[in-house]
């Protein structure tokens, strides 16, 4: 009993609880449909690759999880959000495909047709995203522009730029060497591996350097951090740059999935999912303390909702409503007044017990 109480007090308890709750809904439905109760959770090998709903959630949730990493840092240090990440994904994908295929070409499928090697396209795509991150960071850190206003510029401009670069066309790179980043590496979907590497690298950096502490202290109080000797502006610039880097990686993954730069649609509204992931993870959008694991769980929770709605065959016209209801519930459960209410109630219960 005491163990359970200690568990519920952990910061990550509620985000994990919400995610499990979303997935458990499937168990109920599977039982109602007369299927195996754990159909949703079954993972098997099919055609030499992993196959199952859980694999889908991890696979499809990769982009948002990667974006949520950068978004968490940005939210923490600047108490604002980077709403340009979706467009920057599109820019990274567009630059990547155009470098590989050459300007004005709409499709390449053999090594001989390539204008530049694939690695160069990917490097340039991610490079463009990093530049976008630096641009955002510069505006926020040095020009002291509100983060949402500063990133609003690239929110509209980056996608437009991507469309221009691609000459308003969908540029296809039908090469297995390029498709691999969005399909399978051995039996495992590559996006899962890429997300795992991103998470691991950032987690290690935060664990073994003081970066995390710096970011949080800048987020809690920028001025006092500066007086304490941190270069606040530089730290904010760095966070936005890292956010740009991750947006670039997510963009390449998304582009590789469809082996083409569909710049109109890559990363569309994904910035909202990334921000939501940070919030669902129990992080305050007011900046300061952050919990990276929470954001990652939040990202996969969003995908779990989408996958559940698809699996249950909820009509597409109604799906957004269901999604909204679930998200409201998750957010309300984690709201401070609700938490305080449950705390008071359990305290009252304990007091009543003692009185008896």
């Amino acid at each position: 009993m005491n163990n359970l109480k200690a568990l519920t007090k952990k910061q990550l308890f509620l985000p994990i609880f919400s995610m499990i709750l979303v997935m458990l809904v499937n168990v109920l439905f599977d039982i109602a449909d007369g299927n195996n109760a754990f159909d949703f959770f079954s993972v098997s090998m099919k055609g030499g690759v992993l196959y199952g709903r859980i694999v889908d959630i991890l696979n499809r949730g990769s982009e948002v999880a990667i974006l949520a990493l950068g978004m968490t840092l940005v939210v923490s240090c600047s108490a604002g959000t980077d709403i340009s990440v979706g467009s920057v994904m599109s820019l990274a994908g567009g630059v990547c495909c155009v470098i590989i295929a050459g300007f004005g070409v709409t499709s390449v499928s053999t090594a001989a047709e390539l204008a530049h090697p694939i690695w160069m396209g990917i490097a340039c795509g991610i490079g463009a995203a990093i530049l976008a991150g630096i641009f955002n960071g510069f505006l926020v850190a040095y020009m002291k522009i509100q983060p949402m206003v500063a990133t609003l510029i690239l929110w509209s401009a980056a996608r437009a730029l991507a469309l221009l670069i691609c000459n308003n066309m969908i540029v296809y790179v039908r090469m297995d060497e390029f498709k691999v980043f969005g399909s399978f590496l051995g039996p495992i979907p590559t996006p899962i591996l890429i997300a795992a590497v991103c998470i691991a690298v950032l987690a290690l950096v935060l664990k073994f350097t003081a970066l995390g502490t710096y970011i949080q202290s800048v987020g809690i109080n920028k001025r006092s951090s500066r007086i304490a000797g941190f270069n606040s502006a530089q730290i904010i610039l760095m966070c936005y740059t890292i956010c740009g880097l991750f947006a670039g990686i997510a963009g390449i993954v998304n582009t590789s999935r469809i082996y083409s730069a569909d710049t109109n649609n890559i990363g569309l509204t994904m910035e909202m999912d990334a921000i939501l992931a940070v919030a669902l993870g129990g992080n305050s959008l007011g900046g300061g303390k952050f919990n990276l694991a929470g954001s990652i769980i939040g990202a996969y929770t969003i995908q779990a909702i989408t996958t559940t709605l698809l699996a249950r065959g909820v009509s597409t016209a109604q799906a957004p409503v269901f999604k909204a209801v679930i998200i409201i519930l998750i957010v309300v459960i984690q709201a401070p007044p609700v938490k305080a209410y449950f705390k008071r109630r359990s305290a009252a219960k304990a007091a009543a017990k003692e009185a008896v």
Binding site: R60, L131, F138, L164, S183, R257, I258
Partner: protein, 356 residues
């Protein structure tokens, strides 16, 4: 460090600006005779129209823009049919998806006193006053491609495609192909609420209702994108594994995504496979897959419409009766090896002969 950074930032901004500046150029070259609704350009167009010989019929054409390959093919078709050799003087305006520009373009045509106005409306609403002006000036207006929300007495003729006819065509072909066999159908719809998605769904469902041996297992939106088609198909495969034999994708991009998802799960499709794929749009790439036998049937939305308009104009000139409501015939293309009364069998010649 800071200096290098600022130089880099300045460079990116300059590049971005340069790229933005470049954007207007292609639009201008695509519409050489376009008055573009700016005062500066309007006199130029008037001059172009004025020296037209009396024997030539002056036709003003307010086109939507150049947003897709389909539209480009549509424009080229008009320019070919209404050429000087055929006795026409076409005053062509590329409205670049801007409603205000289009209204201005039609007004300019009225002022120039063209003989006929062809209008491919960007928006359906808000045309009453302009149509009244044309009526007062005695210039016949032919509405092409999309509908306007105005009383049919306000314009002289309508001509366009009906997406529900495309849906019906796909259904009729499937009925012929299956020849009474059972069908378990999965539908990947287009964007919720778009006219193409609604029309194609209604048309297909009308045919399905006549066939008790057909079951539509599920219908979800893939947002007209490849990623959307892929994600929805992945989920369908898990929900209806081995239970479906027909997949209907409401555009070609969704079909590519669905094929990738089936490839990953080891499901065979197309002429030699277990699953029949029906797609819409009949883009060049889509027809290539049809030729390879991967897409069984591809229904097109016909952009070749100018000949119908020319016929109406000729009949008006001669004072004959003309059709006030014309539906342009849509075609379907089927993979080699399939013979159909409803569709053309794909060959390399058919693919090479396509305008887009």
């Amino acid at each position: 460090m800071k200096k290098i950074l600022s130089v880099l930032l300045a460079l990116t901004m300059v590049l971005a600006l340069a790229a933005c500046g470049g954007s207007s150029a292609p639009a201008a070259t695509q519409a050489p005779a376009a008055p573009a609704a700016t005062e500066a350009a309007a006199p130029a167009a008037t001059e172009a129209a004025a020296p037209a010989e009396d024997s030539k019929i002056v036709v003003g054409f307010a086109q939507v823009g150049h947003e897709s390959d389909w539209r480009t093919a549509n424009t080229k078709n008009y320019q070919d049919v209404f050429s000087a050799e055929n006795g026409y003087d076409l005053v062509f305006v590329d409205c670049d998806n801007d409603n205000a520009v289009q209204i201005e373009a039609v007004r300019t045509s009225i002022q120039q006193g063209v003989d006929y106005i062809i209008l491919a409306p960007i928006q359906s609403a808000g045309w009453e006053s302009v149509l009244q002006e044309a009526k007062d000036a005695g210039i016949p207006v032919i509405v092409a491609d999309r509908q306007v929300d105005a009383d049919p007495s306000m314009y002289d003729a309508f001509l366009g495609t009906d997406t529900s006819v495309e849906g019906k065509l796909a259904g009729d072909w499937l009925a012929e192909y299956l020849n009474g066999a059972e069908a378990n159908i999965l539908v990947i719809e287009g964007s919720v609420g778009s006219s193409a998605a609604i029309g194609r769904t209604n048309g297909f469902n009308a045919v399905a209702a006549e066939h008790p041996e057909w079951t539509i297992l599920d219908s979800q939106s893939g947002d007209f994108t490849q990623t959307g088609g892929q994600e929805v198909m992945e989920s369908f495969i898990k929900s209806y594994n081995g239970k479906f034999n027909v997949v209907v994708c409401q555009n070609d991009n969704e079909a590519y995504g669905a094929m990738d998802a089936m490839d990953a799960a080891g499901i065979t499709y197309g002429v030699d496979g277990d699953v029949i794929i029906i797609s819409y749009d009949a883009t060049h790439d889509g027809l290539k897959y049809t030729l390879e036998g991967k897409i069984n049937c591809n229904v097109e939305c016909n952009p070749i419409q100018a000949a119908y308009v020319e016929k109406i104009i000729q009949q008006m000139e001669a004072g004959e009766e003309f059709a006030t409501y014309t539906l342009v015939e849509d075609q379907a293309f089927v993979a080699p090896g399939i013979e159909s009364a409803y569709a053309t069998t794909m060959t390399q010649e058919v693919l090479d002969g396509r305008a887009y």
